[in-house]
Symmetry: C2
Amino acid sequence: MTDFQKTRSLFQIPDGVIYLDGNSLGPLPRAVPDRVGRMIAEEWGQELIRGWNSAGWMTMPRRIGDRIGRLIGAPAGTVVIGDTLSIKVYQALASALELNPARRVILSDSGNFPSDLYIADGLLKSLARDHTLKVVTPEEVDAAIDETVAVVMLTEVDYRTGRLHDMKTLTAKAHAAGALTIWDLAHSAGAIPVDLAAAGADFAVGCTYKYLNGGPGAPAFIYVAPAHVERVRPALSGWMGHAAPFAFDLDYRAGPGIERLRVGTPPVIALAALDAALDVWDGVEMRDVRAASAALADLFIREMEARCPDLTLASPRDGGKRGSQVSFRHADGYAIMQALIARGVIGDFRAPDMVRFGLTPLYIGATEIRSAVDIIADVMTHRRFDDPAYRTRAVVT
Amino acid sequence: MTDFQKTRSLFQIPDGVIYLDGNSLGPLPRAVPDRVGRMIAEEWGQELIRGWNSAGWMTMPRRIGDRIGRLIGAPAGTVVIGDTLSIKVYQALASALELNPARRVILSDSGNFPSDLYIADGLLKSLARDHTLKVVTPEEVDAAIDETVAVVMLTEVDYRTGRLHDMKTLTAKAHAAGALTIWDLAHSAGAIPVDLAAAGADFAVGCTYKYLNGGPGAPAFIYVAPAHVERVRPALSGWMGHAAPFAFDLDYRAGPGIERLRVGTPPVIALAALDAALDVWDGVEMRDVRAASAALADLFIREMEARCPDLTLASPRDGGKRGSQVSFRHADGYAIMQALIARGVIGDFRAPDMVRFGLTPLYIGATEIRSAVDIIADVMTHRRFDDPAYRTRAVVT
């Protein structure tokens, strides 16, 4: 049984803050500063170039990949870390299209994170000029999977509403139609149980700065099903994916298995931070996280609907169809969120009208939920968001 | 006039080490640990998601890009940081080919870093199936530039020998033939004066973990000439390169100027380390660095040839045709370098037979050069590299 009192003690949350934005940037795990400090001072500072071997820098992308693999149902040796999520989407998509050469359609939905669609657009305009990107609504995906589709590319949990796709069912449907699947787990990994192997997913990608708490801009991960990986020919064929990077051959030969999805030199400082952040998950079972976060979300929705009726629930009411966030709509959503942040309730805003609250039992409990609703209710009841200072738009990720 | 006594004091070099491998991984600048520690504890830990605005994380790729721009003759607003060098090569190459659509040849040379060639290979097999990669020797490049060439893609300083291409002459030749140029500055930035604007370079890329001392796996940079940048359509079209990333439009619109070469979420911890590392360059003039490093290299070659005749100079003898490293060949090069590292003289080995020594006056002086040659001469004279322990190959980057 997961001990959430213990996991709470592993995070540094500032005094006066109720942090409901771990779905955008996870808070600082207490182990990170010291681990990164030692990596910099002792490994880089003392070992210098020797650190690639003596400190194990070169193998971090695989070793940390395996740590994440445990949380998403990926067998050891099927996940590797590096680059950004957008780059990993490009790799997965380029590879998947090549594995399904007779088909010409990439199927995605309007609930996908826009960057995934942008990456597909760039790829279509360059690499795959005879392909098309078909974007339907989330509800239409199932019916749109047909024998024209090469790849179904979806984000499992909608970044705005938290709506959850049924990975297992849609993957089976895709396979029955002869299509491959790419699952973006940005809002899944560390938030809900994922079982890539059981679902038969072909490719998966995700970031580590949300529910995995790896820090701002922490590197991404990619999973390729063992059945495919030896047939993958990387479009982004960098030296770290080469079979023998230090032979310095002039010709590219793809490395074994998931290694070939590596591209350039691994970002060691960021990997040290991520590695320390993942210690939080030792002894944590995703089914316990799911049960606890669903209970928190149900409590939050109940309290919000009772006390803040002007905010309209945008997330599925059924916890089984929802990831680990709860979102509401309001025409003044931006100003409301600014007012909340000023009061220490940190969630975020997604255009045009959505306020999002990420919930995770790792560091949030019922007490924080009730306190947050008290503040939200006060802001709504007294229209404290009418202050002009809260209406000036700024960039918020 | 650059004060090299001051720059030396800004680095932490372990006792007993003469570090001649800054061309592979620069040593730790003393400002880095504290800066990274504060970024993690105060910005991530206290500001949480607000750090994207309040701590300026979102604009770091451009701001730090401008700091590097000063060292490579790139005007403000023409350089942006992110990803790895391999990814930046892909972006430059995909863009350059599209800007020169009537041509079908990528011209490069066997002195280019293999990863650049691997990236071209991956791109040719996917994006540009009707193009070819023509690889000639470095000496043949000039003559091979003709009206079939779309892009001349070269690393300015050969990663093995330090041989220096003439950027200005080859760029002019390329332009006269209707070709574009991509310059990889991995072994140039921070090592020798580079003037991209004066040379008329079209694209340039580079890494920051060598002479710029950004730390293992520090992010890369890309330069696009102002004349081209508004016509570039990124193949890797991630959300950070979008004109309005936080509008979350479903359609991609390239951002203004160099911003469109950004891809995913910036690696903030690594950027904080790089930003601190670049403080070393405040008040440093590249022409002073060049003059001092050429003098060090001349001294090193003179002493080595006098005392270690079994090591054959592999670098150009003429300092004007050499970057900031000196390499020698020996059939036992690997074992020799292992023996040297065991004695505290850290250089590196490049297959099949080359020992490399990177020289920079930022933290190396004539005293270190003389001490290093004393140790190398002892190792060579007494064949201390015959120890079997030094003959076991391991991965060394």
